[in-house]
Amino acid sequence: MHHAQIDRISYQDSPIHRLDGRIKLACVLIFSVFVISLPATSVSILACYAIWPFAVLVVAGVPISFVLKHILIVSPFIAVLALSSLLYDKAPVIATFGPWRWETTAGVLRCFSICGKFIITMTALVGLVATTRFSDLLAAMAKLGVPHLLVVQLGFLYRYIFMLIDRGYHVLRARAGRKFRNLGFADELKTTAAIAGSIFIGSIDLAGRVNMAMQGRGFDGRFHRLTEMRIAGADYLFAATLTLYLVALQFLGRVF
């Protein structure tokens, strides 16, 4: 399953993996802001912005083809909306590229802009998640001020997601083994509700026993955390590199 693969990749080792989660999170946010704020008229500079997430992934040892395939799977909604620009923006423009002149509509270029930004910001996000263990990401979020209750919630959710998804797959396979045709809508609904309901009840019982395990180890309502995060020189270097890079890109095309 590809989602479990990102989880495994995040446990590898590389200079990027060793960076502090807070720095990486802040960098992805700032980078995304810069990319999104590009006007639709600047399409070719997206290629320059693409260098950063590409470099991060290469240094981190994350396979690029895997990332692109992964992004492709979540792209349909944005693809449809990007394509809609073709329909609705018919301002005629001439774009020049090297020695070529191209008479087209602003919608086409806007479509390229949206798709390009999507790929770049998504790749940056994958760069964050594939190089940071989820527990470290949670700790980063907690340190950055996310409410305690939400951090606890995310921790439990992440811990039990894969288990429940596997349970879901088992149940679906069991249904596939016994259902050979489409029942009427009412019966489909009833069986689906029964399946969802049984997973639900299993979840409630699981939660009850987990709660018992917590009580059994003396839980009194407060999660205690040990101090573990430190910002090191490498983190400053990473942040500084990104800053220089973004500043340089601002001058590109305006100076010469």
Binding site: I6, D13, S32, V33, S37, L38, P39, A40, T41, V43, S44, A47, F54, A55, V59, V74, F77, I78, L81, S84, Y88, D89, I94, A95, T96, G98, A106, I114, K117, F118, T121, F134, P147, H148, L149, V152, Q153, L154, L157, Y160, I161, M163, L164, L172, F185, L189, T192, A196, G197, S203, I204, L206, A207, G208, N211, M214, Q250, G253, R254, F256
Partner: protein
């Protein structure tokens, strides 16, 4: 030199495309917002609103949720993921399957505060782990899919369904609650996109599409939610009884007044928004002989957007083309700003490509030299 794709190759590609679209559309039925639909101010504004909302809810929830429900909230979130995998054939659309979203069910079972926190965490995990929705759009997604549907769904449900409902009432209440809840969230998407001004889809078209699709989703959601509640009532009545005990008190009169006021505000706001926003820079309408009054209306109100775009294209980095504000009504294509810009664009793209190639080669060479690093860490 021309190459001809063999017939079989073409059909194989087509089949692959169809399979991909089907597989992908099963996921995209969720329609999380992406970064690219938003402008930076809107993204930051919604991130701030969502953060404030979640902060308030967590604060309020501290007194409502006892510590022995922490595990339950988390696992219920995981349940939502599992439930979204269980699909079934939709009656009128052959080949399409529907599945439940789960926001309203969780709000009913856990209460609106715990439900909102649980679904928000689901949206966050979907963004981070599964890349469903962008990081900058997280604020919007949390508001649209977690905060609004859980509270709206909970209140609507409680309005219609009392403590011991008959099966009819349960189904009706669930459907109404889910439709209203999901629509409330879905309607925000075109609004957020329109305020951002990035998409060129006309507001009304976008709105009607979203409303139409989500009414169907809402009805399906309502049916499954009701069916699950009925099933639970039969098999584990103790769980249902606990929901009733845990429910949040509120006054029905206040709720009715709030709903009516909200409906009036939303209705007025929507019509104002729709009329004051340009329906895209509709160049194609600039020459509609059947409606000679059309042009002035568009050019008056589009000036602001056009002026911003003009400014951006003059001073932005490396513009590839410009849209002139004064070019309304012209049917000729517009020239780009500088003739040299074309070569700059060329340099940007090929320069970047070369840089990336170099980086990749460098890393590959380094890896060869080190004899395969990137093995998993020992701990």
């Amino acid at each position: 030199m021309r190459t001809r794709l063999g017939r079989s190759g073409f059909y194989a590609g087509l089949v692959k495309l169809i399979v991909f679209i089907r597989a992908a559309s099963e996921r995209s039925l969720k329609m999380h917002m992406a970064n690219e639909l938003l402008s930076v101010p809107v993204a930051i504004g919604t991130l701030g609103t969502a953060a404030a909302g979640l902060g308030l809810i967590c604060h309020k929830a501290k007194s409502l949720i006892t510590s022995d429900r922490f595990a339950l909230m988390g696992i219920m979130g995981a349940f939502v993921f599992a439930a979204q995998m269980v699909n079934f054939q939709l009656p009128l659309m052959p080949g399409t399957s529907g599945h439940m979203v789960g926001a309203v069910l969780l709000a009913i079972i856990l209460g609106p505060y715990a439900g909102a926190i649980a679904i928000s965490s689901v949206v966050i995990i979907q963004c981070l782990v599964f890349q469903d929705g962008g990081l900058l759009a997280l604020g919007c997604n949390i508001i649209n899919m977690a905060l609004v549907p859980t509270f709206v769904g909970y209140w609507m449900y409680r309005l219609f369904v009392n403590a011991q409902p008959s099966q009819w009432r349960l189904y009706l209440g669930s459907i109404i609650a889910c439709v209203v809840a999901i629509l409330a969230g879905a309607v925000l998407v075109p609004i957020e996109a329109a305020v951002s001004g990035v998409l060129r889809v006309p507001f009304y078209t976008f709105l009607i599409t979203m409303v139409g699709v989500h009414i169907v989703i809402g009805i399906v959601e309502g049916l499954i939610t009701a069916a699950v509640l009925v099933y639970l009532r039969q098999v584990r009545p103790d769980i249902i009884a606990e929901c009733v005990v845990n429910s949040v008190r509120f006054s029905k009169g206040v709720l009715y007044m709030t709903l009516i006021t909200a409906a009036i505000i939303v209705g007025a706001g929507l019509s104002h928004l729709a009329s004051s926003l340009p329906d895209g820079l509709e160049w194609s309408y600039a020459e509609r002989p059947d409606e000679p009054d059309f042009e002035p209306i568009i050019s008056n109100e589009s000036h602001a957007v056009a002026a911003v775009e003009d400014f951006q294209s003059r001073y932005s980095a490396l513009p590839d083309y410009t849209i002139r504000a004064g070019a309304f009504g012209q049917s000729a294509p517009v020239e780009t700003v500088e003739a040299g810009a074309g070569w700059q664009s060329f340099a940007a793209v090929f320069g970047s490509g070369a840089t990336m190639g170099l980086i990749w080669l460098g890393a590959w060479a380094l890896r060869k030299k080190n004899g395969g690093q990137n093995a998993p860490r020992s701990n």
